[in-house]
């Protein structure tokens, strides 16, 4: 096993025993389903970077690097897009530790010889690696510092220059995580990096991730996502989350987003975003199951089957008249137990709790806790239903940092 930091500046000696320079960097090739293999080393000759392909290397070690030939350096090396440089792209840069769900800085790299070839196996993020590089690792008191390796398979790069394959493997590793964990990782990055990362995820994951990011951080983050990507992400969000996003945007970005969302959706979201964040209107979602009171149970069930994919969890169905005025509610259980022919109006509960759009969030939480409600309807002064608040929304309000 070799530590990359200890290879840096090691003299390179060619087949004529002549020293030609000192090692400046190592190029590795990223492969799918394996550790990246060392494919070349570089050194500087009169200020120009020269590359020596791996096949010309006789021995790679701490003392010196010996070559099989002389004059085997390439000045205009053609980098493949799955090749990265260890010193330039990895050492001292930040990476995601996908297993530990955190952002860490690379203190050293571990190269291991597998079947005659060196591969990049692990990333050393320990303080011991720092001491090693400062030449202090042999000091008696400091010896106790432990080495902490992260397997390459659990590493995802934070910054480019990313070739396609590298981007793909990095992304795959990240997408194994729960959106809430990705959100936690993102909060440790600066906004340039986090906005790039969010935009590299598929829209659905990106929407879920954004919902989990802390509100304060989220506001600054979404401002930096370009309008086209943001529109695609917003399309995947529930309306109340989307309205939150819009509320946080600057006027200019808001207009750009609206243009891409289309008039109908933009108007709905714009209306929602006008409510204060700590009121029922600001918390509510306009995605809810609505059924007209003169329908039969059979008709209602079919409508729910058709549209239920659009909604998150469904606890209640809300019964309205032609003007969308709330008339009653039916729980999913009641609906399941009812006979097909029965009218919805006959099985619905006529006594139920509601809140108004301007009701304070705290009050909503109290009502829902007191009456053990999983969801509650939000109505305006004409009794028209505007949205619903579910227990998830309440939890998010009460525990914003989770």
């Amino acid at each position: 096993m070799i530590f990359f930091s200890q290879l840096l500046n090691v003299p390179i000696v060619d087949s004529r025993q002549e020293g030609i320079g000192r090692l400046k960097d190592v190029i590795v090739r990223i492969r799918e389903g394996g550790y990246p293999e060392v494919c070349a080393i570089t050194f500087k000759r009169k200020g120009v970077s020269v590359v020596i392909p791996y096949q010309y290397i006789e021995n790679l070690g701490y003392g010196e690097i010996t070559l099989k030939k002389s004059d085997c350096g390439v000045e205009d090396y053609d980098y493949a897009n799955n090749e990265i440089l260890l010193a330039r792209d990895l050492l001292d840069q930040q990476i995601f530790d996908v297993a530990g769900i955190r952002v860490v800085r690379v203190n050293d790299l571990e190269l291991v010889k597998i079947e005659e070839k060196f591969s990049l196996v692990g990333i050393d993020v320990s303080n011991r690696a720092l001491l090693r590089r400062l030449g202090l690792s042999n000091m008696p008191i400091l010896r106790r510092a432990r080495t902490k390796m992260i397997d390459w398979n659990n590493v995802s790069l934070v910054k480019g220059p990313v070739g396609n394959l590298q981007l793909k493997t990095s992304k795959e590793k990240l997408e194994r995580l729960h959106p809430a964990d990705i959100a936690n990782l993102i909060e440790n990055l600066n906004f340039q990096e986090s906005s790039k990362l969010v935009q590299s995820l598929d829209e659905e994951t990106a929407a879920e991730v954004l919902e989990e990011v802390e509100p304060e951080y989220k506001d600054a983050l979404i401002e930096r996502i370009n309008p086209k990507n943001l529109a695609e992400i917003v399309e995947e969000m529930s309306t109340n989350e989307a309205a939150d996003v819009i509320q946080a945007l600057s006027a200019h970005k808001k207009m750009q987003l609206y243009r891409r969302l289309g008039v109908r959706k933009a108007k709905v979201l714009h209306k929602l975003s006008k409510y204060g964040a700590d009121t029922a209107g600001g918390m509510m979602s306009s995605d809810f199951m609505m059924v007209y009171k003169d329908m039969s149970v059979n008709q209602a069930t079919r409508q729910i089957q058709k549209s239920s994919q659009e909604f998150g969890s469904v606890y209640h169905v809300f019964i309205v008249d032609d003007e969308k005025r709330l008339e009653g509610i039916v729980s999913i259980r009641t609906l399941l137990l009812a006979k097909h022919r029965q009218k919805i109006a006959d099985i619905m509960a006529k006594v139920y709790r509601t809140v108004r759009v301007h009701t304070k969030a705290e009050e909503v939480a109290k009502v829902m806790t007191k009456y053990n409600l999983m969801s509650i309807a939000v109505i305006d002064k004409n009794k028209v239903i505007r949205g619903i608040i579910t227990v998830d929304d309440i939890l998010r309000y009460l525990v914003p940092d989770a």
Partner: protein, 423 residues
């Protein structure tokens, strides 16, 4: 689309309001860094300058404002474009060894700086006959508690309020009934006394303006605030406002002592003495203003500098932490706790060689500044890193000249302190 635009397009008034909110969302880091530069040490220098040389040194404030503006802009631009702190950038682009050198030296200089701020607090306690050994620990606990428990927003609000409270010196300056005619003359007509003391004080004023911690702090703060590169314009306003406010505060401190102590021929050694000496001339209220101003400046200075130390080390060695994510950064709070409480304990040691420690801190600052600024300018010239915000030729000339100037001034200060005979 027309109807949509009509219904949701903000009116002119609203646009103006949004613009103001935007400015407010960017403003802060510059102002806070600038005013924190006027901490206990800075106030002492200005008070001494006014008492010893009257209005003659006011023109130096113009230089200070310009230098402060130029160096802070460099830090802001780096932070805004890269989204990274200075320590991280140095490590990523240069080497671990350079990073370690810069971090250790800056950390040590900062420690002495925090110590000087506790000395400021102790002298305020002395003015009111309040026991130091109560005042210092109480202040330490309060500062620690605010930074540990408070959110980023709360801490920033407190810092900004503190920056505004420097107004105390403006009021004190007005109460001293300065001669405005002489004050204006002092600004527009560069004048110098041909003696070592004048030169020394002038160098001290400039040499303490630009500090290593200030460069780290301003950059990290813009990054943590999440200001983006497209808002560079507002960040520049923040910095220009900061340069003005910092110099205005210094201006009023100088004229306060110039109009009173200098006229009466009284010389002083530190800011605490200035407060006491002011009373017979400008009234008891002016004394209070000076004392409370010093307290405020010391509090801001020690919180900001101690925080910078923590930022610095965590960022350089990958123990990253941000003020609002305390669950992730025990090292950040560990370092902060160390900086605050070790200095608080040290200041209570009887017979502590305070002056020597502060001079030592100034010396460390001088060692690290050239390294730091060479790194900053090299970074600003990296096209790959800075994109369209890369330094222009004119920018480079101005930057290199300011950096050379500040390094020479800081070095002179050290030389003259150590060899008083040479100047």
């Amino acid at each position: 689309m027309d109807t949509l635009e009509k219904t949701i397009k903000p009116g002119r008034f609203q646009t103006a309001k949004i613009k103001w909110l935007l400015i407010l969302s960017v403003i802060g880091p510059g102002i806070i860094t600038g005013t924190a530069d006027n901490d206990a040490g800075g106030i002492t220098t200005y008070a001494v300058a006014g008492a010893s040389f009257g209005y003659k040194m006011l023109w130096i404030l113009v230089i200070i404002a310009v230098i402060l503006g130029i160096t802070q802009e460099m830090g802001a631009r780096l932070g805004l474009v890269t989204g990274k702190g200075l320590a991280a950038l140095i490590r990523e682009n240069f080497s671990l060894k350079v990073t370690t050198f810069v971090v250790i030296v800056t950390f040590a200089a900062n420690w002495a700086n925090v110590l000087a701020d506790f000395a400021g607090i102790a002298s305020v306690a002395d003015i009111y006959g309040f026991p130091r050994w109560i005042a210092v620990p109480v202040v330490a606990v309060i500062i620690w508690f605010i930074v540990y428990k408070g959110s980023f927003k709360l801490v920033q609000k407190i810092f900004l309020t503190s920056a505004v409270l420097f107004l105390a010196y403006v009021v004190a300056g007005l109460m001293a009934h300065p001669s405005w005619n002489e004050a204006v003359q002092g600004i527009i007509k560069p004048a110098a006394d041909m003696n070592p003391a004048f030169f020394y004080t002038a160098v001290a004023m400039i040499g303490t303006t630009v500090t290593a911690w200030g460069q780290f702090f301003v950059q990290s703060y813009y990054v943590d605030k999440g200001v983006s590169a497209e808002h560079m314009k507002y960040a520049r306003w923040d910095i220009i406002a900061a340069a003005f406010w910092t110099s205005i505060v210094a201006f009023f401190i100088i004229i306060a002592t110039a109009a009173t102590l200098h006229v009466a021929g009284i010389t002083i050694q530190d800011a605490g003495q200035a407060a006491l000496a002011l009373e017979p001339f400008a009234g008891v209220f002016a004394k209070h203003l000076f004392a409370w101003g010093l307290l405020n400046a010391s509090l801001l200075g020690l919180a900001v500098v101690a925080m910078t130390s923590s930022y610095l080390v965590t960022e350089a060695f990958g123990w990253e932490g941000r003020v609002d994510l305390k669950k992730e950064s025990p090292v950040f709070y560990g370092l902060f706790t160390f900086c605050v409480f070790s200095t608080a304990a040290a200041i209570l040691i009887p017979g502590l060689p305070l002056v020597q420690i502060i001079v030592g801190s100034q010396m460390l600052n001088t060692f690290v500044l050239p390294v730091l600024f060479i790194a900053i300018l090299a970074l600003l010239n990296k096209k790959k890193l800075m994109g369209k915000h890369v330094n222009s030729l004119a920018g480079n000339i101005v930057s290199w000249m300011s950096v050379a100037f500040i390094v020479v001034m800081a070095s002179l200060l050290v030389v003259m302190t150590f060899f008083p005979g040479t100047s």
